[in-house]
């Protein structure tokens, strides 16, 4: 049918935005990828070979992956119960949790990282609290440590773990749990056999969001851990902004791009498969 094959004129409305994103965002990313595979105009893998054969690169990759995994785990541990509570409550309590998630999302990351600088100092409130309850013998500084970085980053990214999990949990029919209870399933059995499997697509999406954002963060490590600790993202930024080593920066940018795209694509297909199975 020719009518069906002809492009709908209403699609012309989408054209300006699609062209804009393609030219201003798509083309530059392709150029970046293309140029990273060229040295002096000749196709070459040399920059990547030298990057991956350098011991320092592996320290940086290790830092990136370790911090991202820790941030993701912390977000999952505190985010899942929060999503569960959010899905099971109504009224003022639900509004409070929603405000606590949405309000920080609307506040800039520089503001929040700056606040964590104050909180994590030796005389900051975390240190005062821990010594106050007797867990620490003397005040400690968490600022400029990996633990401090993980706490600050998890604070910024945990909404991106809670919201996808909440969005699948709120769709689960509460009668499923009741049915399982009627059939004699224990609460733990019910959680692990009903709620948890059904919320897996949300968990996968949340993990992918948080992991890729933690791997890409630049402002948070700049303020909470400093120059001694490099990740792929901070090394990329510094190569361009301070070291003027654009060759290294382009290489690490491509490695970071490939890592985050792989995580996002893998999680999208995984959560689609998990969603389809339920």
């Amino acid at each position: 049918m020719s009518a069906a094959r002809r492009l709908d004129p209403v699609l012309l409305l989408a054209l300006p935005a699609v062209l804009y994103i393609a030219v201003i965002y798509g083309v530059p990313l392709l150029v970046l990828l293309g140029r990273s595979l060229l040295v002096g105009g000749v196709p070459s893998l040399a920059p990547f070979i030298s990057f991956f054969s350098d011991g320092f690169s592996w320290i940086v990759i290790g830092n990136t992956v370790r911090i991202s995994v820790l941030v993701t785990l912390l977000c999952l541990v505190i985010g899942y119960p929060t999503a569960l509570a959010l899905a099971r409550t109504r009224g003022a309590m639900q509004a409070l949790i929603l405000v606590a998630i949405i309000l920080p999302l609307s506040v800039g990351v520089v503001v929040k990282a700056f606040a964590w600088q104050i909180v994590l100092r030796r005389d900051g409130i975390v240190s005062q609290f821990m010594t106050g309850i007797g867990l620490w013998d003397e005040p400690q500084r968490l600022l400029f440590t990996e633990a401090g970085l993980v706490i600050g980053a998890a604070n910024v990214f945990v909404p991106f773990m809670i919201l996808p999990i909440y969005s699948v949990l709120k769709l689960i029919d509460p009668r499923l749990g009741e049915a399982a209870a009627t059939l004699g399933a224990s609460p733990f059995y019910r959680f692990f056999k009903v709620a948890l499997p059904l919320s897996l697509p949300g968990i996968v999406t949340g993990i992918a969001f948080v992991f890729s954002m933690a791997a890409s963060m630049y402002v948070i490590p700049s303020l909470l851990i400093g120059d001694r600790f490099q990740t792929l993202a901070t090394l990329t930024g510094r190569s361009f902004l301070f070291m003027r080593n654009e060759q290294l920066g382009s290489t690490t940018a491509v490695v970071l791009l490939v890592l985050t795209v792989a995580v996002v694509v893998a999680s999208a297909s995984l959560s689609k498969r998990l969603g389809g199975a339920s």
């Binding site: 709908d8 209403v10 699609l11 012309l12 409305l13 989408a14 300006p16 935005a17 699609v18 804009y20 201003i24 965002y25 530059p28 990313l29 970046l32 541990v77 505190i78 119960p81 929060t82 569960l84 509570a85 959010l86 639900q94 409070l96 949790i97 929603l98 606590a100 949405i102 309000l103 609307s106 800039g108 990351v109 520089v110 503001v111 929040k112 700056f114 606040a115 964590w116 104050i118 909180v119 100092r121 409130i125 945990v158 809670i162 996808p164 909440y166 969005s167 609460p187 969001f209 890729s212 890409s216 402002v219 993202a233 990329t236 902004l241 920066g249 940018a253 970071l256 791009l257 985050t260």
Partner: protein, 266 residues
């Protein structure tokens, strides 16, 4: 309720409440520091004072930067609202294979590392001979704002029943009037909410802007980070408190427009 069930339920609630406190901590600390008299961020503050707000009012460096950021965010949000709304309507009203892939591509700037996007744009803009700071910033910031508009308006439109427009026309309205009376009111909340979030995202952007600003033209987050790294004092907390107030305003307006629960739909 059995004992184990009660323990599990209490644990879930304790963790949820702890998370709420954790999430609000940086905001509360910022506000508290901004009203404290201590120049070294001592908490609890020895006494309360408005001196950092007075310092902020006198600042000659900060206000031009705030003005620049607001202009940039307003302009890039306006462009994004126009392009993004048309795009969402166009995509939703036409049905073709690969439409989902196109939508994913259009919102992908939200998911990829900002630094990498910034570097890619920097290299391409340079190669194209574009050196003007403002033009580069606006071109780049529309890439930040557009995905918010497309995502939210597209989601709202997919809930809209387009036969309502035909119904309005059957009842005697002309096509433009039918769109004005039926589609515009249905779309307005999503349009305004996405505009607010796009505006905030532009105001907040660091990793893309850093490649296009120079010593004379800076955006607010870049100036603020420089301040925090070079000469931290609670003036930064004062401006941060104003930004938190802006976020509170957005939250209240958003709640009125679409409700908190729909604002939580990522």
């Amino acid at each position: 309720m059995t004992l184990t069930e009660r323990i599990a339920s209490v644990t879930v609630w304790l963790l949820a409440i702890a998370t709420v406190v954790f999430l609000l901590t940086p905001l509360v600390v910022t506000v508290a520091v901004s009203f404290g008299s201590s120049a070294v961020f001592t908490l609890p503050a020895p006494s309360w004072s408005l001196r950092w707000y007075q310092a902020l009012g006198r600042s000659r460096e900060l206000w031009p930067v705030v003005a620049a950021s607001v202009q940039l965010a307003a302009l890039s949000t306006a462009i994004a609202l126009a392009l993004g709304t048309l795009c969402a309507i166009g995509l939703l009203r036409s049905n073709f294979r690969g439409r989902d892939a196109v939508v994913t591509f259009l919102v992908s700037p939200l998911m990829l590392p900002g630094l990498v996007i910034g570097i890619a744009m920097l290299e391409t803009f340079r190669a194209a001979g574009l050196r003007d700071v403002w033009a580069s910033l606006i071109l780049a910031h529309v890439v930040i704002t557009l995905p918010y508009v497309i995502r939210t308006v597209y989601a709202a439109l997919s809930l809209f029943d387009f036969t309502l427009i035909d119904a309005a026309r059957t009842l005697g309205l002309s096509y433009p009037k039918a769109v004005l009376k039926v589609l515009v009111p249905a779309l307005a909340p999503a349009f305004l909410t996405s505009g607010m979030f796009a505006f905030l995202a532009s105001m907040d952007n660091y990793p893309i802007s850093i490649f296009f600003t120079d010593a004379w033209t800076k955006t607010l987050p870049i100036q603020m980070l420089q301040y925090v790294e070079e000469s931290p004092d609670p003036t930064i907390a004062a401006i941060s408190t104003l930004l938190i107030l802006l976020a509170v305003a957005v939250l209240i307006v958003g709640d009125r427009l679409v409700g908190l629960r729909r604002m939580a739909d990522l």
